[in-house]
Amino acid sequence: MAAADTEMYRKEKSLQLRSSSAALYNNLSVLRRPGRPLACCCAVHGPGLSLVSADADGTGFSHRQLQAKEGSMALSASLLTQAAWCVLPSRVLLVLTSQKGIQMYESDGSIMVYWHALDVTEHPPAQAVFARGIAAAGGRFICVGTSSGLVLVFDIPPKGTNITVSEVLEQHHDAITDIAAELGQAPDGAGDLVTADDAGTLCVWSTGEEFALLIKIPAFGCTCSSVKLWNGIVAAGYGNGQIRLYEAATGLLSAEVNAHARWIYALDVAPQTGKLLSGAEDSFVHVWKLSRDPDTGDVEIEHCHAECVTDTQVCGARFCDPEGNSFAVTGYDLSEIFRYSRA
């Protein structure tokens, strides 16, 4: 039995960006500021990043452009692969990953506080070299992935620039695509971080002084381009348009959704309600609802809303509030951020 839309979202006025968005996975980051009606947003253009934020009094918008750092041997312009705000208890950092390394800024992008150059010799010759996959974890760390499958764990002090690499996780053999930390409450025994790679392998970790691999979920033949972790549920988006849900504690498959007709580029979760957002190259953005059956504890998913962003290959999608009453979308080659909110 086919279900029609259970919720309606209507399109709001778009936010303008100073440059168009590149076709990169998870190409939209949104920073919600307490007490401010609107968020800050950023999307990667290619060699640069476009930031837009609402002014404090809500009357206008500020724009800022950040560039990929060239590195010491400036043979060619570097390209950014991703940008994301990392919210830690003591501070918020804006992290940019590129073909050359990792740049960390104060949350408004005004000052770079840390630069980590990728070691090119660590990568096999004739392979693309880049960093990709960004997440704040364990209230103290920022994890960043690389094209060789490594995950670098950075220890972030409450303030200042004394950022160090505390650990390097070596479980993936393919380029990291996305990293996600637990957004809700992890059930007992479940990990609080998940990493995903180009082959589709997922690793679930527990974070801390030393990270421990708890579960490895094997690939089934498709790239996992985006991953989220909420209340012990791993939500993974794949290149064949599927969303799969796994139990973080056991690695078992809980649900399989043929969600999109093309490659999925972005997933997001609204932590207060368990709403799931998915965006793909097929021009569609879908809103789903995650839950657990109160008797069996089994994971359930239902479809809430389908939005067709006409003639747009969606590359980024994020909820703008913790309940999931509004969301923002970016598309390849477009200089705007589409916004939708509950009618």
């Binding site: 790239t223 139990e247 007709a261 069996t296 067709c308 003639d311």
Partner: protein, 314 residues
């Protein structure tokens, strides 16, 4: 002067360009792992190839031809249903090229050699790796929205220069719109469906990645198999002048490395200069010479290609 071309001339130009393009040394350079070309570099190589024979184009016609090529290729890369289809698009290109030189076994052999090299180099890449290649190519095409008549007429491009993305047609995978839920024993316990405006069907078969075969995919086949007028429109170009301006200002070390690379690449191109006794002729992509001249003078600054002049020797 177009009506003075004979079939012999056409054949000559076609053979010369294809021979030059598939030159062994040139291909060797192309197959080396390398960064994405800058727009300047690609345009320079394109210029050289277009002038590999007795045909000449003025700046305006050259710009127009290049615009057409880039927008057509952007369309093909953007609309590939699966990332690996960019290889099928390339095979469609090569199949068409082989047809142009089907009666010249020497040149045909060169093209087949390249075909084999492509199969060897790319067939084993994963979908994720193809997607990375495709994403990198899409960076090259970002912010290009030149309108092409044939695309506007066929309704594959909107009047704002953006391509139409269909939400119906064949899906690359078996995607019925189902949600399946499993319990901890792995049994399917619930199944629901959802609807969208899209109207997708499963495809019949996959295209062939062999030297010969039905590619199935239509992207990359001859757009002009039905003859139609060729026009591109300059107005309605990208508003993002700031981002383009930054790209044209390259710091010195960057430019030097790129020039070295281009010199190596073009060094492999054996260019025939028309001799004193040979009659070369000029291809004008506009309706009159005046129109061509006017186009050259009125081309928007942000769309100028700034070709690098290289006298490349071995």
């Amino acid at each position: 002067r177009v009506d003075e071309w004979t079939d012999v001339d056409r054949k000559r130009v076609m053979n010369d360009i294809i021979t030059t393009m598939f030159n062994k040394k040139f291909m060797e350079e192309l197959f080396k792992p390398q960064e994405l070309y800058s727009k300047k570099a690609l345009r320079t190589v394109y210029d050289r190839l277009a002038h590999a024979s007795i045909m000449r184009l003025n700046q305006a016609s050259m710009d127009k031809l290049y615009d057409l090529m880039t927008m057509a290729f952007k369309y093909q890369v953007l609309l590939c249903p699966r990332p690996k289809d960019i290889l099928l698009v390339t095979f469609n290109h090569l199949d068409a090229i082989k047809d142009f030189v089907h009666d010249s076994p020497g040149i045909l052999n060169q093209v087949d050699e390249t075909f084999r090299q492509l199969i060897e180099t790319y067939s084993c890449l994963s979908a994720g790796e193809f997607q990375l290649i495709r994403q990198t190519l899409l960076i090259f095409f970002q912010d290009m929205h030149i309108r092409v008549s044939i695309f506007l007429k066929d309704k594959v491009q909107n009047s704002n220069g953006r391509f139409v993305l269909p939400i119906s047609g064949p899906v690359p995978w078996d995607n019925d719109l189902f949600l399946r839920m499993f319990n901890r024993n792995g049994d399917e316990v619930k199944r629901t469906e959802f609807t969208t405006d899209g109207n997708y069907v499963t495809p019949q078969r996959e295209g062939s990645f062999e030297l010969y075969g039905d590619r199935v995919l239509k992207l990359g086949t001859n757009m002009y198999s039905v003859s139609r007028p060729v026009e591109t429109h300059m107005s309605g170009s990208s508003k993002n002048v700031a981002s383009r301006a930054k790209e044209n200002i390259a710091p010195n070390p960057l430019a030097k490395e790129e020039l070295n690379f281009l010199a190596r690449l073009l060094g492999g191109l054996e260019i025939k200069e028309p001799g004193g006794s040979e009659t070369g002729f000029r291809l004008n992509l506009f309706t009159t010479d005046d129109e061509e001249e006017h186009a050259a003078l009125t081309r928007p600054e942000e769309l100028s290609y700034k070709v690098i002049n290289i006298e490349a020797t071995q």
